[in-house]
Amino acid sequence: MKINITIFLIFIITFTSAFINRLQNRQPHYLKLVIPKGWPKPTRNIFAANPLTEEGFQLGRKLFYDVRLSKDGSIACASCHQQFAAFTSFDHDFSHGFNNSFTTRNAPALLNLAWMPALHWDGGINHIEVQPLAPLTAPNEMAETLENVLKKIGADANYKKLFKAAFGNSAINSQRMLKALAQFTGSIQSYNTRYDKVKRGEATFTVSEQYGYKVFKANCNACHTEPLFTDNSFRNNGLTLHPTLMDLGRMKVTGELADSLKFKVPTLRNIALTAPYMHDGRLYTLSQVVEHYRDKINNNQPTIDSLLKNKIAISNQQKVDLLSFLYTLTDEEMLHNKRYSAPAENADILPQHVH
């Protein structure tokens, strides 16, 4: 009898502890950022205080595609950062904001942000988690208050479930919302372009692309450094000051005259899809961009980049080859990756139209 009781007790204890364990084990599913072979390590781990999980990613994805984040419910993050345009505003120099307003800079591509130490053309944003605060509250973008956004998503029972899945309980606050958005945007990665496949030995360049790659390495790689195709520095590339926007770029952030007219070097990944080009979208084609560098640089500016003082000598043939190469930087897998696209359950809260 005593032995029976003992066995039974052991059984009960085992069962109970297994049950408790199961309750406690409703942990999120951890994900890892892909660091492609041969790439530098991200300058800092943007997920160090924000563990990347499937649940957090999915919550961020839903928020990214939710128009309720804007004042009049017409604009989502995805309105100006469209997947098919490498998360830029397709064919727009400036994006549309609240009440027929325009932004004052060209929407940058969202990709490989884990390798980007500062965000925005002037580097004014120092961490991916606080980036959404800018478009959310800017009167010419989503024009909403953080308080109202939290109220609106807090009234949605579905969000409570998603916050619970991502963070352990259903509390909704600004920190969690921003961390979830960072998990989504920070996970948008491009490393499967034809260029990448050539580098991995899975594809080959055409003759023109191969020549173009040589031209690129000789003339562009110093700033648009492989494999990210940006060195994340701020430089004056010889555009004249916009007469009405009077955008001084990096100087706005540092207050230093030496930073006048400097803007962040953008990545060239998916460059074929991110027209128009430059911080104010003033150049509409890649051909115009090359023309700028070989002919139109305004090198009378004191802060002109030393590499561009004498413009870049590129022949017509080299230009054709360079353009061929730039087209190999299109990442079809990123552009069509379903994990980055609007979640199906967002059908009623998606942006209603593309401007």
Binding site: I46, I125, N126, L150, Q175, G255
Partner: protein
């Protein structure tokens, strides 16, 4: 069934009691801490600051009213000649509009202290670490959205001497980088012969006075007429911050 229950229930209770004992055991460590309450008295010319009501006159005879008066305090430490007592890293937003924010309760090791030190503002690491919560939640309207970083001190109101629309005055003082850093480390001595005595079970009250009028001329003269607005890091913000650090003094210590 009854038999089973009669076995399981006591067993579970036993486990439960064990757990409770462990927790109690942890709490039975000898307490060597007392408490102190730091009270921030925001004043103008020795009178309590009243928002949206009283009109004040700065050292240049310029009149002003305030509608907002907020500032960050962090890294509070109490010091004496033998040792300093660093508190757990904590960030506090002193907001004249919220009474409860004017008092900070802290636990301190038993000892005698002769000065208090704190950082006026939010350290640079916390300015660059992404989304924060509590006193540092961007909901508190003390975070720049277009250029990441905390507004360390915020004064808003009106003045007839301001040429800005609606005679506004608006000083948002921030910046954590390099020469533009507005961070100020303050050490405020307690009145002589009046150290803070922390004993087990006692609560000491430390009254800190912040005289708003020092803002205009504490170190650098800054008139409303010439500078009614500061809304970005830079030279002006830095000068205003230096003035701001001059607001503070300990007026009294009450050992209970």
């Amino acid at each position: 069934m009854k038999f089973l229950l009669s076995v399981i229930v006591p067993l579970l209770l036993l486990l439960n009691i064990n757990a409770t004992c462990q927790i109690k055991g942890g709490l039975q460590a000898p307490i060597k801490f007392g408490t102190a309450t730091i009270i921030f008295n925001n004043t103008v010319n020795k009178l309590p600051l009243v928002l949206n009501d009283s009109t004040y006159s700065n050292p240049f005879g310029e009149q002003y009213r305030l509608s907002k008066f907020k500032y960050y305090i962090s890294g509070i430490r109490l010091l004496n000649s033998q040792k300093k007592w660093m508190l757990k890293p904590g960030y506090y937003l002193v907001n004249q509009s919220i009474d409860s924010s004017l008092k900070i309760n802290i636990a301190l090791q038993e000892n005698s202290y002769d000065s208090i030190a704190f950082l006026l503002g939010v350290d640079s690491a916390r300015n660059t670490s992404g989304a924060q919560k509590g006193a540092l939640d961007p909901l508190n309207d003390m975070f720049w959205t277009w250029q990441s970083g905390y507004i360390m001190q915020k004064l808003e109101g009106t003045s007839p001497q301001s040429s800005i629309v609606n005679n506004k005055i608006e000083y948002h003082i921030g910046g954590y980088m390099g020469t533009n850093s507005v961070l100020q480390q303050l050490v405020l001595p307690f009145p002589s012969n009046s150290p803070v005595l922390i004993q087990r079970g006692s609560n000491c009250i430390i009254n800190i006075n912040a005289d708003v009028n020092c803002f205009w001329s504490g170190v650098v003269d800054i008139s409303i007429k010439e500078n009614p607005v500061c809304s970005a890091p830079g030279k002006l913000a830095k000068q205003l911050a230096v003035n701001f650090s001059n607001l503070f003094s300990v007026t009294s210590v009450i050992n209970n």
